[in-house]
Symmetry: C2
Subunit: 291 residues, 2 copies
């Protein structure tokens, strides 16, 4: 168990917690910290184009009910300093700098989409730092992605209130209703909101994700280097990083659970947030047994 | 909610509950009933060759903590009268006779292996009777099975204490230890144990399972007829009915969650019994939304 050397703000939520800053050797990182002071912290690794306020409060606050949860902006994103790198390996190095700057000796990782690629890289390279990892709507190195086509399609739809509606949810009425509820939840915070840095972030991030998937890894070197227990999660109709990626990761990882949700897209964790939080909690609270 | 017209035995377990009998028009069914008197009953559909006492008390008793759970012998199995049919459709008819004989208007089904085929058939044909279904270590019609090869391999191993060890568990030390613990749990009950009727059960059951998988269903007629929410579960290394079956069912079912467990075989639900019960409970307790 790791104790965070940060004053506890009991009852703070993603919407109310102050944004904090911590300096590594090269970067000043913005972050928010929720939940109890003790326990293995769960560090969240965000998706392409997302900042701290792009997380779903329904997911983050529920996870923080019984463990420390840390959302942060990686280098160049939101209010963190530095440049957004154009490759996953550098993003992983930056994230480890952040974790080290907080003085955390062991963490759990939840990586969503591009953040899931970063989580795989960190877990493969830093066996001792990562206790367990959760890989959501992501792809293995050499996996299948349709980022640009899906982005182009989403941004061509003039009548949607937010591109995340077509990007993260399916066209069913249930999924769409879940999407609108998700968007509403992400807009509750008004003060001290995180910033959107546009193409300075999204251009290198798109290159990083596309390169990750375009890099063949026939021997699954990254996945086979991951010894930590993993929970792999995807939506049935993820158009950006299809669920076949999740099944392929499950088969190559040494010790993985796979959970797939019905009628859901890239944002399955936000659509099925109550079930997702239950599944994450069950996974993180199970005593680990090596495979 | 359905109230069972059966005296409640608070605290009864699979090991201590009396075996009861109920008569349909043609069959006298043996069963045990656990858990509270109210709530949607969960009816368990057993695997090839198994009787009531082949269920894992760790799974059944935990599930019965907050819902009625009913384990029974289908026609010809254990102490139920009648002949074991050689096809899934007839097994489904017999199971529905049993459910009707108990006067239950709506049930949840948990079908394991051959019992999962029976559960699919019932759910497809009796939309109003089945609220939700859990399909564990099973196959769709036209799916992949290796029953005879795996049985032959298991029974050729002279040094195993029970064929279910190689049939249900992997060769890893963790899985094998889980298997020995499972076998021990199934042997606690000494009085009023269920009977093993040998080839009178296993011959027609083997034919039913093999025929089910040998019957092509290119349009997925059974799966597409299932409108109920489904939880599909499998072990990573199921040698009898491989996990590819589960992924295929997930993709064709209208409203399914998929959960796959690491380092586990056909008996994944017994090896990972604590996590499995958590997942079942989360699934059954979630308010259903149509896809």
């Amino acid at each position: 168990m790791t104790e965070l050397d940060i004053p506890s703000h009991d009852g703070a939520t993603l919407e109310t917690a102050p944004t904090r800053y911590v300096e590594s050797r090269t970067i000043r990182f913005a972050y928010r910290r929720l939940g109890p002071a003790t326990g293995t912290p769960l560090v969240l690794l965000q998706h392409f184009s997302g900042n701290i306020d792009a997380w779903d409060p329904a997911v983050v606050n529920s996870l923080a009910a019984d463990r420390p949860v840390i959302a942060f902006d990686n280098a160049g994103v939101g209010r963190s300093s530095g440049q957004t790198p154009d490759n996953v390996a550098a993003m992983a190095r930056d994230a480890v700098e952040f974790i080290n700057a907080l003085g955390l000796a062991e963490v759990d990782l939840l990586g969503f989409s591009l953040g899931g690629c970063v989580a795989q890289q960190i877990a493969a390279e830093h066996g001792g730092l990562v206790r367990k990892l959760i890989l959501v709507a992501t792809a293995p190195r050499g996996g299948e992605e349709h980022l640009l086509a899906v982005l182009q399609d989403a941004f061509s739809q003039a009548d949607v209130p937010d591109p995340r509606l077509p990007l993260f949810f399916t066209k069913s009425s249930n999924s769409r209703a879940s999407g609108l509820a998700f968007l509403k939840r992400t807009r509750v915070r008004s003060d001290d909101r995180d910033t959107d840095n546009g193409k300075a972030v999204t251009d290198p991030q798109a290159k990083a994700l596309i390169t990750w998937c375009a890099t063949p890894d026939p021997d699954h070197e990254i996945l086979r280097a991951i010894h930590q227990p993993a929970l792999v999660v995807s939506g049935s109709h993820d158009t950006m990083l299809p669920a076949d990626n999740a099944y392929a990761m499950f088969k190559q990882l040494r010790n993985a659970q796979l959970v797939l949700y019905p009628d859901s897209g890239h944002g399955a964790l936000f659509q099925h947030h109550e079930i997702f939080v239950d599944h994450v909690r069950t996974f993180l609270d199970t005593r680990s047994t090596a495979a």
